[in-house]
């Protein structure tokens, strides 16, 4: 159905919810892949930064100690990390999935005269079901509209530290750390109107975290935007030629109680695919990047090089990051 060019997937190498310092492009639950109707898949996506990985691991899987906080004061002025692992069992248009770990963390040191440390970490596991259905439609450029939904239960832990060097000297690690756990259900809904003709765009809409979008907390450093209620709209064009498949498109994201347009999340992407190799470039106000994705019958591997910053206040200069992606089908 020409859906392989879906830019929701292209920009993030198929992983939808794990980017810390960039936009949170989500896959569309209405997307029904033409292949792999029955089978298992395991996919992993990590930001390849060892220092960030070590920091995140100690934040999420060990009790935070004074020594660890002390070492963070001596780290780089800004660190971020994200990682995501997903198992999926697909039965035609229904799939069951389990995300054992989706972790993200960021630390920021500011004010050199009186150093301040802001730290945030987020860990989530989720189990859900995705169901999609194709409704027949008789339009000249398409024969179906696809509608799908994710329904899942999540278990989420948030950790926050906001301190300065003076407060750090007099308080214990427990007093400096705010930790909260949350378990609940949530739902995503998507729709996709694919197009068979290159000059008519495919239209995608995705509403995410509709049941429990999470409050907009006013924190200096916050990762909760990843799980805030949002609506993403996308348009994409795809041109099939004997030399390959050329695609391009735009997306916009609306957030908050009044569904305001988030200008930092405006994005565009270009993609070229020939055989099992796909190259792509994507751009948004906070992130520019390009990458490659190699697809085989039983696996996919991808790499994305990105130049990005968290936002204009926290991180002025852009930093180079590498994301790695792998998926295995059984």
């Amino acid at each position: 159905m020409g859906l392989q060019s879906s830019l929701f997937e292209t920009q993030t190498l198929g992983v939808c919810v794990s980017m810390v310092a960039t936009t949170d492009h989500h896959c569309n639950p209405a997307y029904i892949p033409a292949e792999h109707k029955l089978g298992f898949s395991l996919e992993a996506n990590v930001k390849a930064e060892e220092q960030g990985y070590e920091t995140t691991r100690s934040l999420l899987f060990e009790t935070l100690t004074k020594d660890q906080l002390d070492s963070l004061f001596q780290e780089k002025d800004f660190l971020s990390y994200s990682g995501h692992l997903r198992l999926e069992a697909r039965y035609d248009t229904l799939s069951m999935w389990y995300v054992p770990v989706h972790a993200a963390a960021a630390t920021k040191i500011s004010n050199p005269s009186l150093p301040e440390l802001a730290l945030t970490a987020f860990k989530q596991s989720a189990f859900g079901v995705t169901a999609a259905h194709a409704f027949s439609l008789s339009l000249p450029w398409t024969s179906a509209v696809l509608v799908g939904t994710d329904f899942y239960r999540y278990d989420r832990t948030d950790i926050h530290v906001d301190t300065n060097i003076v407060e750090f000297a007099v308080k214990s690690a427990e007093d400096l750390t705010q930790e909260s756990d949350e378990e609940d259900f949530d739902v995503n809904i998507g729709a996709l109107l694919p197009s068979d003709r290159w000059y008519v765009p495919s239209v995608g809409l995705v509403g995410r975290h509709l049941a429990h979008g999470g409050p907009d907390e006013d924190r200096y450093l916050d990762l909760r935007y990843i799980v805030r209620r949002s609506l993403t709209a996308g348009l994409s064009w795809s041109y099939h030629h004997s030399s390959g498949v050329y695609s391009g498109g735009f997306k916009a994201l609306y957030r908050g109680p009044s569904w305001e347009l988030d200008r930092d999340e405006l994005g565009m992407a270009l993609s070229y695919k020939i055989g099992g190799l796909q190259s792509f470039a994507a751009m948004s106000p906070l992130s520019r990047g390009f990458g490659f994705l190699f697809s085989h019958a039983i696996y996919q591997v991808g790499i994305k090089y990105a130049s990005e910053k968290q936002d204009n206040l926290l991180q002025l200069e852009r930093k180079q990051h590498v994301y790695l992606y792998t998926k295995i089908f059984m």
Partner: protein
């Protein structure tokens, strides 16, 4: 006419030169016969059982961390997949030998087009059945393995336990569906029974009853 069919099949299957097609065809038939006579599935079965044994032994006796246990679980999985291949090879028909049998009959002037079609359709059905048996049995073994692994994983490794449970549940589902498609037209029955485990959790017991072959 028969020669034309043979030439056509050979050009499709062998992709050899025009001069060497006849000998290649004979070699191919001989190889296929040999693989059936020598029970070539035994090789896959032996490798699969070896991999499974190494995986099981390592999982339960090599206590050097979670990462290594996951690697041993992957070895168990590969072993079971190889056993699945052996099940397929033991049950698959040979379309090539069926074709050769009928071509020989045509050569002797005793060809029967309707019989040829019937045998080809039968071979196709048997091949499909062999694939379903492979999926059904290998998924059932995998499901049992993952369930036992989940039970043996330490309580604090919740993530790993949940991964095994997820895999066990889904492989059981795939296995049940495959068994149903194999025996569904006869007397097979699948039943789901809810079980109340405690005030907070509920489970489902799935059972499948199959006719004795």
């Amino acid at each position: 006419m028969c020669t034309c069919i043979q030439r056509f099949l050979c050009s499709l299957l062998v992709l050899g030169s025009a001069s060497g097609w006849a000998s290649s065809y004979d070699e191919m038939i001989a190889e296929e016969r040999h693989s059936f006579e020598t029970a070539s599935f035994a090789e896959d079965l032996a490798s699969g059982v070896a991999a499974l044994s190494i995986g099981l032994y390592g999982y339960y006796y090599d206590d050097r961390g979670v990462a290594l246990r996951v690697a041993y679980a992957a070895t168990q999985t590969i072993g079971v997949l190889l056993v699945g291949d052996a099940i397929y090879k033991a049950n698959r028909p040979s379309t090539l030998l069926v074709t050769e049998k009928h071509l020989s009959l045509f050569d002797r002037g005793q060809g029967d087009v309707a019989g040829f079609r019937r045998d080809l359709a039968g071979a196709y059905r048997m091949d499909k059945l062999a694939r379903q048996k492979k999926i059904a049995y290998s998924s059932a073994i995998l499901s049992a393995l993952y369930l036992v692994n989940a039970q043996n994983e330490a309580r604090e490794n919740t993530t790993i336990r949940n991964v095994y449970r997820f895999l066990a549940f889904n492989t059981a589902l795939v296995s049940a569906a495959s068994f149903y498609s194999i025996y569904g037209e006869s007397d097979a029955k699948i039943s789901l029974t809810p079980i109340l485990q405690s005030d907070e959790s509920i489970g489902v017991m799935a059972s499948i009853s199959l006719p004795w072959p």
